[in-house]
Symmetry: C2
Subunit: 157 residues, 2 copies
């Protein structure tokens, strides 16, 4: 009789390599955890962290074209389009015609501004909770990586 143990699975070891190295798997895990914190915190005001992020861009700039928002947030145009669709339906943003007929300005409404004001304390709570979870070090590291991407990516420095 041949030996009773079946031959070792060669993929298991390779899978361990991937598991212990893969940046995407880790990043996505962190993203799920952190997104949950903010979404739960913001739920009482009926806002998601995604929507808050978009609203903040518009509030800062007063108005912005879809393409600008996409560039800033590194978000696909179609993704933004659907998000704006919901925010528009909720009455938080409005499109206004631009010179270039292919585009338009997105502007926050008064209702959107009031929502933002109401959301602030909840956002603060989530932010504190996140700092407590990731540590100052973790939060700063994430900021640094984002800055790196905004400034054209490519490596350390």
């Amino acid at each position: 009789m041949t030996h009773r143990t079946r031959k070792a699975d060669p993929t298991a070891a390779l899978a361990t390599q991937v598991a212990t190295q893969c940046t995407a798997v880790r990043l996505r895990l962190i993203n799920r955890v952190v997104t949950s914190i903010y979404d739960r915190a913001l739920r009482p005001v009926g806002l998601t962290i995604c929507q808050l992020g978009i609203l903040v861009v518009l509030l800062r700039r007063g108005r912005a074209r879809p393409g600008e928002v996409c560039d800033l947030l590194q978000m696909d145009a179609s993704t933004l389009s659907r998000n704006i669709e919901r925010m528009n339906a909720a009455g938080w943003v409005r499109p206004v015609p631009a010179d270039d007929g292919r585009s338009h300005w997105l502007t926050p409404t008064a209702k959107g501004r009031r929502l933002f004001t109401r959301a602030l304390p909840h956002w603060n709570r989530a932010q504190r909770q996140t700092v407590s979870l990731l540590g100052d070090t973790g939060v700063e590291a994430i900021s640094a990586v984002a800055e790196g991407i905004w400034s054209g990516g490519d490596g350390d420095g």
Copy 2:
């Protein structure tokens, strides 16, 4: 006549505070960028980074119950359920009955193992590209944060 400049928008300054501090907005941006890198790299083999992450867990452990996978990846049970649904439809994983009738084992199929082997070079390419984008520092920081969450979270150290 009253002055021509309209009164400054008080939300703009607050929005800037949020924009410059919000960890979630930054993390989600990084997540979009990095996920895109892996999904594009894996596309030729018909796999997403999400699915690869799940497959890797099953390959490492040989088999796992849904709840275990959720714990490990910090993924909602319903999310895993839908992902497994697709991977099962593709023939990469199979459920096998467990002692506890409420649950079952998830196991990779031979087809799933072959897929993983084919995916490896593409994953490697994405991983290199990500290291190049985020820098060793960034990649290590993300690993550290994930380890922190796995080991019960709460702060630096």
